[in-house]
């Protein structure tokens, strides 16, 4: 089957950030990309904070720094639970946790990323040696495999992923830049609705197929980041 450039339609939508976050349902589980600053969907985060009728959220993200835009969600009491690996330095989150307003599920970072990768790959659980014999394995099934103790961890999927990439083409294929990949490619595969913000949108054919890092099949909505 052949197709010319003007015949290609992948179904990926190109919306504004405000339009995109309106698609997020109440009480959604949301994966948020980023490792520190790089790869953090800052533009979509701000739109989510401003869309105040979306609450009872579960966030799945590696860490949340003390200056993140998303911190406003704790002040607004819109977060039910956070799953991730590092939240110690976030005063707003620590406060909400101590007041019993937010539940925190702590996972080792490698377990978190593998849980997301396998969630996207359709594998529901896995054994890892990480955390065996530690407090983070308490209450979890363990098994000795090849003479070593392993912990059963369950994979993660989400209703929505909000992620960041460097460029998208008009089909929805993505490329990332430098250390801004981090959790974004795996999260794109593990959510029912994947919304990505990008610096730049290019024509189909401008990205080298060998260099596309997330194929459009994992992408639902592309938002071009406005200068902030």
């Amino acid at each position: 089957m052949s197709a010319t450039l003007d015949q290609i339609q992948t179904g990926v939508q190109f919306l504004s950030a405000d339009e995109a976050v309106k698609k997020i349902p109440k009480a959604a589980s949301i994966m948020v990309g980023g490792f520190g600053f790089p790869g953090m969907p800052r533009h979509l985060s701000r739109a989510l904070v401003e869309q105040t009728d979306i609450d009872e959220l579960t966030l799945i993200m590696n860490s949340l720094g003390s200056v993140s835009t998303l911190n406003a969600l704790f002040e607004q009491n819109r977060i039910k639970k956070v799953i991730g690996s590092f939240f110690s330095t976030n005063k707003d989150l620590v406060k909400a946790y101590r007041e019993g307003k937010v539940e925190i599920e702590l996972l080792p970072q490698g377990t978190l990323t593998e849980a997301i990768r396998l969630g996207g790959a359709g594998i529901p659980a896995f054994f890892t040696p990480t955390a065996a014999g530690t407090d983070l394995a308490k209450g979890k099934e363990t098994r000795v495999i090849n003479g070593r103790e392993h912990v059963l961890e369950h994979s993660l999927t989400a209703d929505v992923a909000i992620i960041r990439a460097h460029k998208a083409d008009k089909a929805g294929n993505l490329v990332y830049r430098k250390t801004a990949q981090n959790f974004n490619p795996a999260m794109a595969t593990a959510a029912k609705l994947t919304i990505v913000e990008v610096d730049e949108i290019v024509e189909i054919g401008e990205l080298n197929p060998d260099e596309i890092m997330t194929p459009f099949i994992f992408v639902d909505i592309v938002v071009k980041r406005e200068e902030v």
């Binding site: 620590v94 946790y97 990323t113 430098k178 981090n182």
Partner: protein, 232 residues
């Protein structure tokens, strides 16, 4: 702990690392980079880079959308990339770590036990809201070098029969480097392999409640004066 002591520990860790791929934790381990043989050791950082270079020259660094996308595992500190560097996502980064591909990691420690258990992420009685990549790093690296002050800031021993703080991993420490001594784990036993000449074996034992044997080839060394003597 003074800056010069930290630099001594970092320098001594670097003597253990003459080739291969290494991940350096935060704290003293970060300083190890300054003492590694250039080009022979490649640094991995779990946020997705193999081939970490030095921090950029602050006089030349320009903050722009591209430059801020290259940082170390703190998530915010800008770095440079060496000519052979590659970038990748978290899945591949932890495949490198958990999959046993790193030759070594140098990690800070709150406590290490005589069986090589490591406690590095949590203190009893405090909220434990962050673990990061430490558990995966320690479980996967071929060698785990614990870089630590010999005593806590309160003067309490940190090398113990058993850790009293929550564990990061069991039986994974290969080498302990402090400002006074180097211990190695060989076939499940802990050995004192090196100590500085400014203390006696008895003084060291007093600071080190863990049971260990003195290696036959124990080296007694003069502590090198390393780095900036100004407090850091």
């Amino acid at each position: 702990m003074s800056g010069s002591v930290k630099h001594y520990i970092a320098w001594r860790c670097a003597q253990e690392l003459q080739s291969g791929v290494v991940n350096l934790g935060i704290g003293i381990p970060t300083l190890v980079a300054d003492y590694l043989p250039k080009g022979l050791v490649t640094l991995h950082s779990e946020n997705g880079i193999l081939g970490v270079g030095p921090e950029p020259d602050p006089n030349e660094f320009v903050v722009d959308p591209e430059s801020i996308e290259l940082v170390n595992a703190s998530g915010v500190q800008p770095i440079t990339a060496l000519p052979h560097a590659s970038y990748f996502d978290s899945s591949l980064s932890f495949t490198i770590m958990r999959g046993g591909h790193l030759d070594a990691t140098v990690i800070g420690a709150l406590q290490v036990s005589e069986t090589g258990d490591l406690a590095s992420w949590a203190v009893p009685g405090k909220d434990v809201l962050g673990v990061g990549g430490a558990m995966d790093l320690v479980i996967g690296a071929k060698r785990v070098i614990a870089a630590m002050s010999h005593l806590s800031p309160k003067g309490e021993p940190k090398i113990l029969p058993e850790c009293t703080y929550p564990l990061t991993a069991k039986n994974r420490v290969d080498t302990i480097v402090t400002e006074y001594a180097v211990f190695k784990f060989r076939e499940g036993r802990m050995y004192l392999v090196e100590m500085v000449d400014e203390i006696s074996l008895e003084q060291l034992k007093e600071m080190t409640p863990a049971s260990y044997e003195v290696a036959e080839d124990l080296k007694v060394v003069k502590r090198e004066s390393i780095g900036d003597p100004v407090l850091v």
